[in-house]
C-alpha cells in the first residue's frame, strides 16, 4: 500500500503497524514521535496502530537545538 511519510510517497505491505514501519526505518531505540494523518499518535499506541492505504505520517526525532 501507499503511505505518505514525511512528505515522501513510499510503498509498504498492507496491515503493517507503525512500530513495524519504524523498525523497517531502523529508528532502533532512538526517541521518535509520530503524527498519523495530522494527529499526534500516543507513544503507547505505536505497536497496535495498523496503517491503511494513503495514511499520511510525520515521524520526528530530536536534533541539536538551543
Amino acid at each position: 500500500m501507499r503511505l505518505r511519510i514525511n512528505g515522501e510517497t513510499e510503498t509498504y505491505p498492507d496491515g503493517i503497524t507503525v512500530r513495524e514501519l519504524l523498525d523497517s526505518l531502523g529508528t532502533g531505540n532512538r526517541p521518535v514521535a509520530v503524527e498519523l494523518n495530522r494527529k499526534v499518535l500516543p507513544g503507547n499506541k505505536l505497536k497496535e496502530q495498523i496503517l491503511r492505504e494513503d495514511d499520511s505520517l510525520e515521524i520526528v526525532t530530536f536534533v541539536g537545538g538551543g
Binding site: E10, P31, V32, G43, I59, V60, T61, G65, G66
Partner: protein, 264 residues
Amino acid sequence: MGKSLLKEAQQDRLRLGKYEFTSRLFVGTGKYPSMEVMRDALEASGTELVTVAVRRLSLKDRPRESLLDYIDTDRYTILPNTAGCYNAEEAVRTAHLARETGISDMVKLEVLGDERTLLPDPVGTLEAARQLVKDGFTVLVYTTDDPIIAKKLEDLGVTSVMPAGAPIGSGQGILNKNNIRIILENAKVPVIVDAGVGTASDIAIAMELGCEGVLLNTGIAHAGDPVKMAGAMKQACEAGRLAYLSGRIPRKLYAKASSPEKDF
C-alpha cells in the same frame, strides 16, 4: 571552591516543577563543530539540563547515529524546545510530539515573531503557554525582557519565565538590566535568562542580578574552543550565583583605603 562552600552549593538547588538541579546553567545542543565536541562541552559545562529541537526523521540517508547517542539521559534532563515555530498551534503540536517520545514532559516554549531576528512573538507565546499549561506540560517559556508579558506568562502557570538578555546568537549579554530587575521584582517563579550570552561575564552579570539560572547555546558552540568555553560558563554561573548570595559592596565615585593610614 573550599569544602564548606562546595557543600553549601550542593544545597543551593533550583527547583523547576518536579525537577531539581544543582547546576544553574542550561545548555543547548545545536551548532557544535561535532557531536564529540558537543558531548565534551556539555560535560565541561556541568549542566544537568540540555535543550534539544524536534525535527523530521530523515528517511533517505538514515544516520547511523542520533543526537541522543551522545547525551546520557540518566545524567542530563532533556528539555525539548519548539524552536522554529512561528505560531501557537505549531508550537503546541511540536510540544506534544516531543512529549510522546517519552523522553520528557518539559518543554521550552518558543514562538518566534520574525525569521530574521528570531525574537519571540509575545502574543503567540501567551496563547501557546495557556494551552500547554492546560495540557499538563512543565512549561519553561522563552520571552522578551518585557516585565508585563513576563507577569502574564507567570499568571498562566508557567514553571519558569526565560527572558532574552539579547537576541539569539547576538552575543551581546544583557542589554537591559533595568527590565530584568523589574521582572525579578515581580516574579514568583524562577527567572532564567535565555539567549544573548556572548561570554562568561554575561552569565555572571545575569546571576548577580538575581536570576535563577542561564540558558545558552551559541556562546559555547561557536566559541573558538567550545569545551573550554563551556568550562568558563560553568565557573561564571557559579561565580555570579555566589556573588549574588554574598551581597556585593555598593558603587561609589571613590571610597576608602583598604590599608590603614600610614603612621611612621
